[in-house]
Structures are given as C-alpha cells and as structure tokens.
C-alpha cells in the first residue's frame, strides 16, 4: 500500500517530463539480476577422499519497476524486488557419525543437495542518467537503492557427505579426486527459524537500453555494489565484513550469519537483463 502511495506521488510529475521514448514518458521494467559469486573449494570428505569444487554461482533475483522520465537525460523509478535466496550453495561442515566407529561423531564436509529457499522482498528506488538525451533509451549510469526484508521460520536442508556423480559444466565443476568412498550419507536437517533480517543496499548501474520496437526495449546492464548494510535480529553489519559460515548449526547466530551472507551474495556484482514496456 505504501508503495502505491509513493508511486501516486511520483507519477504525476508532468511538469518536469520531457518527450520520453516516442512520447512514452512512463515505462514498466521487469528485470532479472544475476549476481555472481565464484567459488573454489578443496577439502576432504568423510572417507578422506579429496574433493574439489569450482562454481560460478549465479544468484538470480527479479524486480518490477515503474519508471518515469523527468527530462532528456533523467529517469527515476520505484518498484518491488524479489529474490528466492539459497542459503548454502556448496560445502558445509557437519557433525556426522563416524563410519568406522558408529558410536562416535566427527566433523566433516558435506555438500548441500537442496535447501528450501528463503524469500527476500525489497522496495526499490532507482535513478538513471542517460548519456545521449533520449531517456529512457541509450547508454547510461545510475543508482539503485533497495530496502529489503527477509524472514525465516524453519528451514529444511538436505546434504550429502559423499559425491557419487562427477559433473563438468561451463560454470560448474565438482568431482572427486579419489573416488574411494564407500559409505556416503545423505541426510537432512531442519534449522530453527524465527530469523529476521533487513537490508539497505546502494548499487551503481552501468548499462544501456536498446529499443527493439516502439513499445519494447531491452535493458542490459552491470550493477556494482556500493554499500550493503545488513540489520540482523539485534545487530547491524556492513556486508563486506560478513563471511560465509559453512557450518550447519542449531545456533541462531550461525544461521543469521548464513542469511547475512546470502543477502550479500544476492546484492553483489551482477549482470542484469530487463525488458521495458513503454506505456
């Protein structure tokens, strides 16, 4: 409701408006953001076999914005963003039964098989300065400001301490160096929830909007994080200070850490593709 209120203030700015693209001063943009977190990990699995993983992790989020041209160069917009965040994407430390001595437990690496996604919602304000005087098309730079919120109740995570399949892709590679493991454990754990995290993110935008018809434009861009502030249950952190905690735990603190890292990942350096509909 409050978004609509702000939109209703923004949209009637007729007196400042200029021509827009072929007379369209307002446009709606659907954006897909892919932030990249390249990972490289080497470790030993529970059977002491070597494990190596490289992963060009793509963290995809979506945004829908309503934008308004203010003059030949400037466009501002308001919108809603959604990111179905994956908390853990690679190896984590788990405490499992020792296969050689079932009465004992030991810490070992496990690979995440699947985890429920955590919803991250955000309110977005954007500012664009187009270089060539024909906003909202052409090359430009800009600023995105997003205020986001994440809340988690309970979270199921499936993991394995072994790796039976070797895959090689362009962006993802994981394989066993010595495949001698004989006793893989596929398990599942439910993390306790009641976590809340708010975020305030400022990102820089560099890109271009290419008109492909009188009504549609494609927006290709890069986003560079400038400031990422995370407000976890009782503390505020600057995102650069948050590191990944690869450890499943029942502790709220550690899960907080995981969410914080996920928000950092989803608001990292990203390349974006969007579709603009000129109204």
């Amino acid at each position: 409701m409050k978004y609509l209120l702000i939109l209703s203030i923004l949209l009637p700015l007729h007196s400042f408006s200029q021509s827009g693209y072929l007379g369209s001063k307002t446009n709606i943009q659907l954006n897909i953001t892919n932030s990249i977190t390249p990972l490289k990990y080497k470790g030993k699995l529970i059977d002491e076999s070597n494990y190596k993983e490289t992963n060009l992790n793509l963290n995809t989020s979506y945004a829908l914005t309503v934008n308004r041209v203010l003059n030949d160069n400037i466009q501002i917009g308001l919108g809603y963003g959604y990111a179905p965040m994956v908390l853990f994407t690679n190896l984590i430390k788990v405490e499992v039964q020792n296969p050689n001595n079932p009465n004992t437990f030991q810490n070992t690496n496990a690979r995440i098989l699947s985890s429920k996604r955590v919803d991250h919602h955000s309110f977005i304000f954007n500012f664009r300065n187009y270089k060539h005087g024909i906003s909202p098309v052409g090359k430009g730079w800009g600023i995105d400001i997003a205020y986001g919120r994440t809340s988690v109740n309970e979270l199921d995570i499936d993991y394995t301490t072994g790796e039976s399949i070797t895959t090689n892709g362009i962006f993802t590679k994981h394989y066993l160096i010595e495949n001698t493991a004989s006793n893989y454990i596929n398990s599942s754990v439910t993390l306790p929830g009641n976590l809340k995290a708010n975020s305030f993110v400022i990102k820089g935008y560099l890109g271009r909007t290419i008109p492909v018809s009188k009504k549609i434009g494609i927006d290709l861009s890069l986003s560079i994080p400038i400031l990422r502030v995370l407000m976890l249950n009782d503390q505020t952190k600057i995102a650069y200070l948050v590191t990944e905690k690869r450890e499943l735990s029942n502790s709220v603190f550690n899960n907080n850490q995981a969410i914080a890292y996920a928000i950092r990942k989803y608001n990292g350096f990203s390349f974006n593709i969007g579709v603009k509909y000129f109204i």
Binding site: L22, G133, K214
Partner: protein
C-alpha cells in the same frame, strides 16, 4: 527605298525584341525548372549503378567508378539547381540538336541541362549528360561560341574521356605500368598531362563536329578568349562614380580609385598543374587542326540572336542571385550596375541593390566585412574601383548609403512589405551600430554642405588662424599642435581620405528636415533600451524558463543520411536506402504530438513534382546563405522567394536535419595496456579493442522564413549503433522540442 525599309524593319525588330526582353525580365525572381521532371532525375542512384555495372563490358572499370559517378551526378541532379524544360535548357538543346543534326542517334543518347552556378563551366558525364552553367551562358558573346563549347563536350562523351580518365587516374595513383615508381609530384604532373591531352582531343573532335555547321569558324578562337577572361564580370565597363548619388547623397570623387588593377591574365598563362591547357596552346592546336578548312557558313546565330540575348540576360540576372546567396555583394552591385544600363527601373535589380547594400552594412557592423569583400590586390578590371570604394568607406558611411537607398526604394515601391522590413532593420543598424547619433545628421543637403565647406576652406586665411592659435595662452602646447595639424589638413582637403569626410551626415537631410529620422532613431533606441531592461529584469528575477516553440506544422527538408563503413568510405547504396527509410520516420513519428509534418524530399519526386524540385533548390540555397551569416541576424536575400512556400505549406518553419553513421575499431591505448595488466579487466580491454564501435552524428536546425532566424538547433555525436528505433527516438525528440509549449 528598299534599303531604307530594311533598316527601318531591322530597327523595329531590334526595339521590339529589346522591349520584349525588358518585359520578360520585369518580373524576374529566380530561374526555375518547369514541365515534367526527366526520368534521369527520378531513378534511384542504386538502380542506375546496378544497371550500368551489370551492362559494363570494360574490365578496367570497377564498381567504384559506377558507385562514385552515379551517386555524385545524382546529387547534382537532385540539388534543385539543374534547369530542365525552361527557356535556357530548351535553347541549349536547340543549339545541340543543330550541331548534331547529322548524328541524330548521338543526340538522342545525350541530355543537355543548365546548372545554376556562377562558375564558368561546361562538363559532360560518361552517361551522356552535358551540363552548361549559367555563369558560362552569362559570359558568351554569341550562339556560335555556345555551339563550339557543346561540340567540345559532346566529344568528351564520344571519346569516353570520363571512363578512360578514371582508369588512367587509378593507374597513375597506384603506380601501375609506365607510372611505376613515380614520385607524388610526378604523378600529379602525369595526371595533368593526361587531362590536357584529353582536352586537346575534345577540342580536335569538337572542331570536326563544328566544321559541319554554318557557324563562323572564327568563333572557335573567341570561345577560348571567353574562357580566358571568365574570372571577370560579364562586362568590363568603368564604374560611374555618380551611381550612388541622390539629391541628398553626394559622394565626393575621392571615394573612388584614380586607377584600377589592370587585367593580368595572358593567353600563355602557366598551366603545368592545370587540368586544361592554356588558351594559347589550345588556340595553336585548333589553328593547326582547322588548317584551311572552313565551316559551311559564317553565322554567329542560327537558332536566334534574340533568344540568345534573352537567355544570356536571364543567366546574367541569375548571376546576381547567385552573388547575393554567396554573399558576393560587391560583385552583385557591379553586375546590377551593368544590367541597369539596359534594364533601368527593373524591380529585381532595384531589390538586389537593396540586398547588396544591406548585406555590406550588416557585415561591416558585425566586424566581418573581410568575408564579403575581395582583397583589392585580387580584384582586376573596372570592378576594382567599386571594391576600392567600399573598402575605404567607414562603418557610418556604409550604413548611411545603405539606408539612403533602402529608404528611397521603399518610397519607390511603397506597397512592398519586404522593403519596409529592410528599411526598419537598416534604421535599427543606423541607430544602434553605425555610431552616429540623430543630432549629428545635418539638415542641409550634401551639395550645399560641401559647397559651404569648400567656400569656408577657400576663404579663410590659414596664417591668420595659426597666429591666433599660437598667441592663445589658454591653449596647451599639445592642443596647439593638434589644432594646427587640423588646419593644414583642412586647407589641403584633397589629401583627405574618404573616411575623414562627412558627406554622409547630410545624406539624409530630407529626413532630418521632416523629423522622420530623429523620430525613428529615437523610437528604436527606446525600444532597444526597453528590451535590454527586460533582459536585466528577467536575469534579476531568475525567470530562466524559456517558453517552447509551440510549432504546429513543420516542413522537413530533404533529410540527410550518410553511412560510412570501417574504412571511412561512404556506402552510397546503404545511405540511399537508409535515407528513404528516414523520410518515412519523419512522417510517421509524431502520433503523440500536436504537430503536422510535411516533407520536401529529393528521393520521392514524381514526374509532376517540378514545383517541389524547384523548392529543394531554393531551400538549399536559403539555408546555406543563413548558415554563412551565422550569428548576424539579417534578412536573407531569398526571403521574398520563400514567401510562396510559406503560403503553400501554411507554415514558416522549415526543419533541416540528418544523420551520419560511422564505425571504427579503437586503437591500442595506455588505458588498454592498464586494463590488460589488471587481470579482471583484461577481457573488457580486449573486447574494447576487438569489437567494432558504432557512432553517429545527428544534426537538426529549424529556420523561420518570416525572419530568417534559426530558432532551434541540436547536434550531437553519439556512441551508439544508429538502429531504426534509436533514430526514431532522436527524430521524435526533435519534433517534440519544436512542438512543446
């Protein structure tokens, strides 16, 4: 008795033809094409190029030849400056038909057109199009000379000089065959020799054609003489120093030069780097070729002497238009002076004089006088006297002379609104820029004033005055010296320069006497003061927001499109195709605007669009003149010719715009080097080096034909691929800016 009757009849015919011409030239404005537009003008250059390339059997001619020639000639054909179906072209065609009467097939292959240009020239293309300029027609002495020049151009066509010249030029430039290892200077020399050989060849073949006619063979030699002195005005007659004088304006004789720069060009001028041999060589060779042979008659006219003279006069009148559009005001005045001897009280000439004087005053007031007046050392013949006169006049004097004549013309043509505009603007110049205050003007006419000064000068005793000055103790040494110098100067008044005389102060005596001048100047001064105050007030109140132009209808003039490839060469085929698409964009692009657009375009003409064709020529000339004036706000010499267009299109606003697309690869720079060293930016640096970068320039300006002012300009260099939609966006933006309130 019969003899007397013949003389009488001849005299009557002469008087009638002169009278007819006077009448015909009475309403002259500018030369226009008429009738149906020839097919050659309507076919797309791309189609011509493809057709001619397909039919080509000469292996030495590559596609570049067809590309460059077809598109270049079409640019000329569609410039609006080529005349067809008018009196001049019809006459040229009649002469051509006569000299080729035995080669009807050849005549049918050829097309003859007249090109509106003051350059004295005729040229032919490999397609068989022969152009004759109005500048050449204005200089000719008789029809036979035109016939020989046409025969010469026909020979260029029949001997394939254009095609062979292209191949030879390419060989010389590439150093092929016998041109291997020549220095640059030698290559230029070879080009010149080859071109001169072609000219001799065309003279020789042209003579053969000409010898089959009944024209006087001697006119071959006089044609060369016409070309020799073609850089001079069409006549060389002493300028009358009383020409500008009126009842009140008496210009002292010292204003004009005692002597002139003599005509320097001789028949054997240095031609070693010229494309044409000098006249002496051409005459000698022609003499050898002709030998004892004669033509079949000794006529100077076969078609018609009367028509020739009319055609020549039309070309001469047009030369005044060309002078004005090219800001050659002194040349224009000299031509007007020559033409007024035969056509006194001709409205076109009267108006052209107004425009010339107005132009000179405007450029003088804006400190750009040297742009519109030739250097005296470069002016030869009798025109020197006129150039000298204007060069020596002060700013105040030029303004007064211009105002005097413009005022007198506005009385002579009292119903003419344009002259009222000139008069008002010239009064503004006189008030605000001439440096003369209203009270400085004298209420007695120049003659009385000059006589009284002369009387005073001759009657006073200089020695007595000097003694009085020397005896005056109240005067300082410095003051005494100054006064004594002034006295000696006054006594030796012949040594005065024209700038030091004050003839102009009494040149508006009648207007001083009836109070009109002071009233007008005071009003303009007050109006100007008020305008300046308003600007100051606005500045203080910070009322920066400018109102929009709120244009409801605009005429888009022949949008320009050029597409350059990676090697920086214009892709003519693509450019033509894109231009046609561009035209459509201007018409379609304004659904959301309260703006009507109409287009005057050279690529979408039909055979009935001759009016549009003439409009294109006029519009191009108009815009180029206004762009030359740059920041000088002045009435264009074509203002009155533009008014019918305003009425036809129901708007006074004309938009000139275009796009120039180009692309390049970036050169390796220190930024790239840094980028490569930083491992993360290396891919970006490499991509930046490898990809082709697209750019385009866009320009548009809108001119109001009511006041000849540029009311909107926009130009940009854009680093984007100029896709259809991007161009659309720019066009819309331009139209939006014109339309907004």
């Amino acid at each position: 008795m019969l003899k007397h009757f013949s003389i009488l009849l001849f005299a009557v015919i002469q008087i009638n033809s002169s009278f007819g011409q006077v009448n015909q030239l009475k309403n002259f404005t500018y030369l226009k094409a008429s009738g149906e537009i020839p097919k050659e003008f309507l076919t797309l250059s791309t189609d011509k190029y493809k057709k001619d390339l397909g039919a080509n059997k000469n292996k030495d001619l590559d596609k570049d030849f067809f590309l460059s020639t077809r598109f270049f000639i079409d640019e000329l054909l569609l410039s609006g400056n080529v005349l067809f179906n008018d009196e001049l072209t019809t006459y040229v065609n009649r002469v051509a038909k006569y000299i080729l009467r035995r080669e009807k097939g050849l005549y049918k292959e050829l097309q003859f057109y007249v090109l509106k240009s003051n350059s004295v020239n005729a040229f032919s293309t490999d397609q068989g199009i022969i152009f004759v300029t109005t500048g050449l027609l204005a200089q000719l002495e008789n029809e036979a000379q035109l016939a020989f020049i046409l025969a010469h151009e026909v020979a260029h066509y029949t001997e394939h000089h254009v095609r062979d010249g292209y191949v030879e030029t390419k060989n010389i430039k590439q150093g092929k065959g016998k041109y291997n290892r020549l220095s640059y200077e030698d290559k230029v020399g070879e080009l010149s020799i080859y071109s001169k050989d072609n000219e001799h060849d065309a003279d020789s073949k042209g003579i053969e054609i000409f010898l089959n006619s009944e024209y006087d063979v001697e006119t071959i030699f006089s044609s060369f003489e016409v070309l020799l002195y073609s850089y001079l005005p069409f006549e060389d007659i002493k300028f009358d120093t009383l020409y500008f004088n009126t009842d009140d304006l008496i210009i002292p004789g010292i204003a004009f030069a005692d002597s002139i720069n003599q005509i320097s060009r001789e028949e054997d001028y240095d031609d070693h780097l010229s494309t044409h041999p000098n006249v002496e060589k051409r005459m000698d060779k022609s003499f050898d070729i002709i030998g004892d042979r004669k033509t079949k008659g000794n006529k100077k006219y076969i078609i018609s002497e009367t028509t020739f003279k009319l055609i020549r006069n039309l070309a001469r009148f047009e030369s005044v238009n060309q002078n004005l559009a090219n800001r050659q005001y002194v040349d224009a005045i000299y031509s007007i002076y020559l033409l007024q001897k035969k056509f006194p009280n001709n409205k076109f000439l009267d108006f052209s004089l107004v425009k010339s004087l107005y132009g000179l005053a405007k450029y003088k007031n804006n400190f750009r006088f040297n742009e519109v007046i030739l250097k005296l050392k470069d002016t030869e013949g009798e025109q020197y006297s006129l150039a000298y006169f204007f060069k020596k006049l002060s700013k105040a004097q030029i303004n007064v002379i211009a105002y005097r004549h413009i005022y007198d013309m506005s009385i002579k043509y009292s119903d003419d609104k344009l002259l009222k505009k000139y008069q008002k603007d010239m009064l503004k110049e006189l008030t605000l820029k001439s440096g003369i205050k209203p009270n400085q003007f004298i209420a007695i006419d120049s003659k009385t004033y000059n006589d009284s000064i002369n009387l005073l000068v001759s009657s006073f005793d200089i020695q007595d005055s000097i003694s009085k000055i020397e005896a005056d103790d109240n005067l300082s040494k410095y003051k005494k010296i100054k006064l004594k110098k002034a006295l000696y100067k006054l006594k030796n008044k012949d040594k005065f320069s024209i700038e030091e005389t004050e003839f102009h102060l009494s040149a508006l005596a009648d207007l001083v006497q009836n109070g009109k001048l002071e009233k007008g100047m005071t009003y303009i001064q007050a109006e100007n003061d008020l305008a300046l105050k308003e600007i100051d007030d606005k500045r203080l109140l910070k009322k920066e927001k400018k109102p929009g132009l709120n244009i409801k209808k605009i005429v888009v003039v022949d949008p320009y499109m050029a597409d350059y490839n990676l090697s920086n060469k214009k892709n003519n085929v693509k450019s033509e195709k894109n231009k046609i698409e561009l035209n459509q964009m201007y018409l379609e692009n304004h659904n959301r605007l309260d703006l009507e657009t109409e287009i005057v375009d050279s690529k979408s003409l039909t055979k009935r669009d001759v009016d549009k064709y003439n409009e294109i020529g006029l519009l191009y000339q108009w815009i180029s003149e206004i762009l030359e004036h740059d920041e000088i706000e002045m009435i264009s010499s074509l203002n009155q010719d533009m008014q019918p267009l305003k009425e036809k299109y129901n708007t006074s606003k004309f938009l000139f715009s275009g796009f120039i697309k180009y692309k390049n690869r970036k050169e390796f720079s220190s930024t790239h080097l840094m980028g490569i060293f930083l491992i993360y930016t290396a891919p970006i640096a490499l991509i930046d080096l490898l990809i082709v970068h697209h750019y385009f320039n866009t320009f548009s300006f809108t001119i109001d034909s009511d006041n000849d002012k540029i009311i909107y300009t926009q130009s940009d260099n854009i680093n984007l691929r100029a896709s259809k939609h991007i161009l659309d966006a720019y066009i819309y933006n331009t139209l939006y800016n014109l339309n907004k309130k």
